[in-house]
Every structure is written in C-alpha cells, then in structure tokens.
Subunit: 420 residues, 2 copies
C-alpha cells in the first residue's frame, strides 16, 4: 500500500462527505446513528469474535495487562458502548443554532450560526469503544471523521467499521462520513496530522507520549490535554468535614484519571487539625503521602519529603503530595507555577477568597467546594466527551459536541451597500 496515496484518497473522501453531512437534518443524522446501533446489535457476535482475535494476538505478543484490559470488549462493555451511542442520539443537535441575531445601524441583520468544523481526525490507542464514541460524536455534530485506532485493535475496529458503514449506507448518509484506517503503518498518522487541506482538527486520545508525538508533528489544530496536575486548596475558612470529604474523593475515587487531585494545598491556620484527620484517612486507602518540610514537621512518620519534581508530577496513582501555604496568594502561585491548567478547586466559605480564586486561577475548570472529579463531559451535561482540552484556544475543558463546531457570521439584508 502506498501510504501517501492511500491517505490522500481518505482525505479527499472525507472532505467531499463533509459538505452533504453538514447540511443533513437532525432527523437524518439520528436515523443514521439508530441504524448503526441496529447493525451493531445484530453483529455483536462478529465484533466480539474479531476482538477475541485481537486479544489472542496481543497475548501472544505478551502485551502488558493494562493494555489487554483496555483492548478487551466484553458483552457488558459492548452494551455500555451501545448505551453511550443512544445517549448521543438523545443529545440536542448543536448545528444550525443561530446566536445573537440583531439589526445593525445599516439595516443588515447579523448573527452567528453554529456549523461543523468539517473533518475531524481522531488518533487513539487500544480501546476499541473509542471508535464508536468518536464516530457518533462526529456524525451528530455534522463532521466527517477519520479514525486511527491502535494497531493491536485493528480487527475489532474493522468489525465496528463494518457495522458503522452498513448504518451509513442504509440511512443514506455519505458513506465516507466515517472512515477507519485499515493500515498499521505509523506513516499514516504522520500524513493524517499534516493534511490541512483535508483535515480541520486532530483529537489525540491516549497517553502523554501519543499526545506529545501528535502535537509535535501536527500541521492542523489539535484539541488536547497533556497533563492533569489538579490541585485542591483548603483555605483557612474551610469546613473541615467538607474539606476532608472533597480531598478524599478528589484523590481516591479513581486514581488513573486526569481530573484526580495530585497535590493538596493546606492553609497553615488549619494544617494541624486537617492533617490529624486526613493522614489516617489517606493511609487507610493506601495512599502514599509526600509532604513539604512543614507537613513533615507536623507528621514526621506519616510521609516522605516531596521533591521539586513531585509538584510537577501527574501520579495517576495512590500518591499525594501535600504542601502547607500561608495564604490564597501562595496557593495560587503554587498552582500557576506547577499546575497544568486542567482543574483546580478551593474549599472555603469565604466569599471574597472564592471570588478571587475563580477569577485568578487560569485553569480549564475552576471549582469552589466541589471535587475535581466533576470535570467531565457527562457531569457537565455535555453528553459524551471527545476529550478534555487544556489549551485556551477554541474549546477548553471537557469537549463535547459543541467543541466540534465553529460559528460563522450570517448577514441578511434587503439590498444594503457599504457607505451607500
């Protein structure tokens, strides 16, 4: 296979599908998604069989158990995947919404219309359910999709692609509205991220390595987040019960997620009483604690010293770094210096301090008296999310259907001319 020619063809097919898809009605897009659901339902055995083949090959290559777990499609996961599809069908269609329509002094009527971005390229690792999730979000938002999954899940993805194509075909949507790449060649990714004439945005989903690689090579915009170094700051006027509950949830609810807390900042005024309760609670969950010198002084046997590196590390593990600070300014300085602008929370009942934290912390989600774990497309009511963005440009934070759209200006007149 000549990869350059292959990707050129894929790109052209996506671009030429994007225009008819963009002007498809909500009913038509939903009918297409419903047809895909039906085919996926009918072809469950074939998809699971393809996945079993992928699993056998991966085991034979001794891939690690975390990867095998992500790769596996069980009947229960298959059902979850179909539930997720149904949720996307039920979401409101963002396309065509007209915002701020108003008359201008010249008599023209001006507004902004929400439109698809065009062609979305999604690059992901082993989880085959991303194939369906990404396809559904792109179709619903009127975007053509080019999907490139991990090479170990190629058979699973091809089986899913067959059901998706059958659904597109039977509903009369453009057949190339969703294309799943059929090659394991890494060069295909290099082409995908450098065809601005065919691809409008790239969404990498996976580990930091994948995202860094894609970002470095990309010649089209990328929706991404690299790190989730999230903080909770317990202010002097915090309710101790609430602070404990939020800190425990933010750290221990799930460890391997980007919105988990990695560093806890505690105001010096309540550090002693807070640590008295927090340390045993974290220890009972098996969380390793790494503290600043002042923390170590208060609890010399409960933690090891935190290094400069600790403040910059996304553990994604039962490890927590702790630091005592004297004021909200010191907390915000720490967050600004070491954070990743993902999600940061304060626990306080002081309105002035809460307002300052909200205004001054420059993160994609800023929270008062709530767990960082809420930074999530489902919790925010966006439906599924295609990713979380820590960039400031375009979409920021959880990216759902709206993040896959743009606004164009529309003008209605009755013959207006400039300067006339």
């Amino acid at each position: 296979m000549n990869i350059a020619e292959y990707m050129q063809r894929i790109g052209q097919q996506a671009r030429s599908s994007a225009r008819p898809l963009a002007s498809s009605t909500t009913l038509h897009k939903n009918a297409g998604l419903q047809a895909i659901a039906q085919y996926l339902n009918d072809q469950q055995d074939q998809v699971l069989a393809a996945n079993a083949e992928d699993m056998r090959a991966a085991e034979a290559e001794h891939l690690d158990s975390a990867l095998l777990d992500r790769l596996e499609l069980t009947p229960a996961r298959y059902e979850d995947m179909l539930d997720g599809l149904q949720q996307v069908i039920d979401l409101p269609d963002p396309i065509g919404e007209i915002l701020g329509m108003r008359y201008r002094p010249s008599g023209i009527q001006l507004g902004q219309m929400r439109v698809p971005l065009g062609v979305v390229g999604i690059i992901y690792e082993s989880r085959p359910n991303v194939t369906l999730e990404a396809a559904a979000l792109c179709l619903k938002s009127g975007n053509a999709a080019i999907l490139r999954g991990g090479s170990e899940s190629l058979r699973s993805n091809q089986a899913l692609a067959r059901a998706i194509h059958a659904g597109l075909q039977s509903s009369g949507l453009p057949l190339h509205a969703v294309q799943v790449l059929e090659t394991r060649d890494r060069a295909a990714v290099g082409r995908l991220v450098s065809m601005p004439e065919y691809v409008d945005v790239i969404v990498p989903r996976g580990g930091k390595g994948l995202i860094e690689r894609v970002s470095a090579e990309a010649k089209v915009p990328v929706i991404k987040h690299l790190d989730g170094i999230c903080h909770v700051y317990i202010h002097a006027d915090a309710d101790l019960d609430m602070a404990l509950r939020i800190a425990m949830n933010a750290k221990t609810h799930r460890y391997g997620v980007c919105n988990a807390m990695e560093t806890l900042l505690i105001d010096s005024n309540l550090a002693a009483s807070m640590l008295d309760r927090l340390v045993p609670a974290m220890q009972s969950q098996g969380v390793e604690l790494r503290g600043c010198p002042r923390c170590l002084e208060l609890c010399p046997n409960a933690m090891i010293p935190a290094t400069e590196d600790d403040w910059r590390t996304e553990y994604l593990a039962p490890i927590l770094s702790l630091r005592i600070v004297d004021h909200v300014d010191a907390a915000m300085d720490h967050i600004d210096t070491y954070g990743s602008h993902h999600t940061d929370a304060i626990v306080t009942n002081n309105l002035d301090i809460a307002r300052r934290f909200i205004n001054e912390v420059d993160s994609s989600s800023v929270m008062v008296n709530a767990s960082t774990r809420f930074a999530d497309g489902f919790e925010y009511g966006l439906g599924a999310e295609i990713g979380i963005s820590t960039d400031k440009f375009h979409a920021r934070g959880p990216v759902g259907l709206e993040g896959l759209t743009s606004l164009k200006w529309i003008v209605l007149g009755n013959g207006q001319i400039r300067g006339g």
Copy 2:
C-alpha cells in the same frame, strides 16, 4: 544583542504581566487607556518627528510609494488613531462575563467565564497606527501584548511605545503589559512565534507573504486569513436593481480590501439582462472584465477570457471575473472549489434558495442581499478588529475583543463529591 536571551526576557515579562492584567477591573483598564490617550496627545510632536525620521530613511532607501503611504503619520491620521483608542475605551469589557450558569443534577452550579487568552503576539508591517490599535485591544481584553512592527517604522513605534508605557506606569497597570520589540532582527520573529510557554496566540497583520511565513514557522496558534476571494452570486430570483447595486458596491467601493468581490456568478436565466446593465457600469469605473465562455458569447467585445487562475486570484484591483452558472448548486460548487471561505453573498428573493445558501456555504461570513463589504469589525459592531480569520478553529470572521478571549468552566458547590 543576543536575540534568544532578549526574547526570553520579553516572553517572561509578558507572562508575568498577564496574570495581574487579567484580574484588573474594567475601570482600571479604561483609566490606563485614557492615560495613554493623554500621553499620546501630549507627545504628538515627538511621535510625528520620529515618524518623519522613519519617512526620510525609507525615502533614502527608495522604498515604494505604497509602503511610504502606509508608513506616514499625518496629524489627521494621528487624530484618527486617537479616535480609535477612544472607541476601544467605550467598548464593553468582555472579561468576566459568565455564560449559562445552571444547576446540574449533582447540585453543582456550572457556567463558563470569559477570560483573556493570556499573551498575544502581533506581527505587522509598516503601518505604525497598528501599534496603538493592537495595544488597546489587547489591554482592554486583559491580554499582555508583544508587538513587532515593520523595521522601517521602528522609530515611530518606539515613540508610540514611550507614550503607552507612560500611560501604563501612571495608571499602575503592569509596565510590561505592552512591549514593543526594539530590534530589527528577523530572528526575533522566529522566536516570538515559537515560545508557546510565553505566547498564547499570534496575530500576523499584513500581506500574504508575511502571513504564510509566520504560519509556517509558528508553534503557537495563529489567528489569520490568507486570501479574500469573495463571491457574489446573482440568483434567478434576484431584483436586478438590487443585484447591480450590490455588485457595484462589492467590487468598486474599495479595491485593495479583503472583503471586495473578486468573482461575480450570474444565474443563466438573467445573465443577458444583468450583463446589459453591469458591463457598462463596471466599464465606467474602469474595471477590467474577465469572463467565462458563456459571458464572452453574450459580450464578446467587453471582456477577455477568464483563465482557471482567475477564479483563484484575489485581484485587490479593478479587475472582476465573471461566470454564468445554471443553478445555486453550480454557484456553491464554484465557491467551494475556488473560494477562500472569507465572505460570500447571494442576491435573491427566493427564501428556500437563501436558506440553502446560508446553510451550505462554508465561509466565515455568508450574506443574503447585502454587499460583501459589510464583513468588517466596525460594521459588525465589534469595535476595532484585530484581524479577520478564515480559520474555523476559535474565532472566525472579523476578530474583535471577544476573539482575544477564551471561556473557562467554573463550578460552585457546597461540598459535592463524585459518586457520593
């Protein structure tokens, strides 16, 4: 001067000014802009003298007359510049606006807050008035600015920078909120566009060459438009008087602007009667006509044949290409194939056709029965514009204060935890 070290220092100073500037009140920012206006007023003689020096040097180097014209600051232009600054002071402050605040089922309150992008780098050519315009728009939207003007206007820009700094200092805004580069070295531009740690977005303002160069090198997002190949399509159900008025305005109101019409598409049903009136009107304005074969058949002596290249050319001159098409689909295909997704208009009284054109034409501004010349920040009520974007990501079309902002999520709770 070591450019790498110099730019590193400029970048750090901008980044550290961005946080205090972002949380400055509207009153404070307006007071700063007002102080700048006062210093500019007081220092007019010095600025004009610096500009006269730039002019003498440019004349000695035999720079072309168009460039000399753009470089010159006359007292009248100086007054216009100060008027523009006053308009920015009068614009509403976009920062801090909270959108869509709502309760979620978990009890958290969720909304989006409009915040500055952070640090904006602006690269422009000879016009010194851009220095003030860009500084004012960035300050008002809470963004630190790094400005790099054309080397031939360095003295003018430095004189303007002195007034800007005096205003910043006297009003207590961060002194490095606006920095004007003091070097003519091209390497400074290369650094400016590849410091994502210090610069959040680049806005190139100038000719296509500048924009292409900046885009190719940039490692940070760029707000740009490359071409303005704008179309007017006269549909079969158009009012002929209105069509003529709009076509004449779109082509002849100003030639060198990006929202001028370059190609006129005429429905075959009214081509003969339209050309009968349009051709002499364009000829009386000295507009050269280049037609498709069907146009040439109707008016063999009035035009020369249009080549494939003509459809892709932004003339920025009194030249118009003309094509007869059979249907709105043919018109939209032409626009999709040859256009630059800037601004395209239809003239029609047919509601169904107007709706299709608005929905299906993928341009930053799509117009019905109005001149393409309206695609402009002032006409759209955005106040000054920092540029026009033909990208789909982030801001699209005329970019004013709002295009220099982003939305972060904010969450207020009273102790909510996930899954709790």
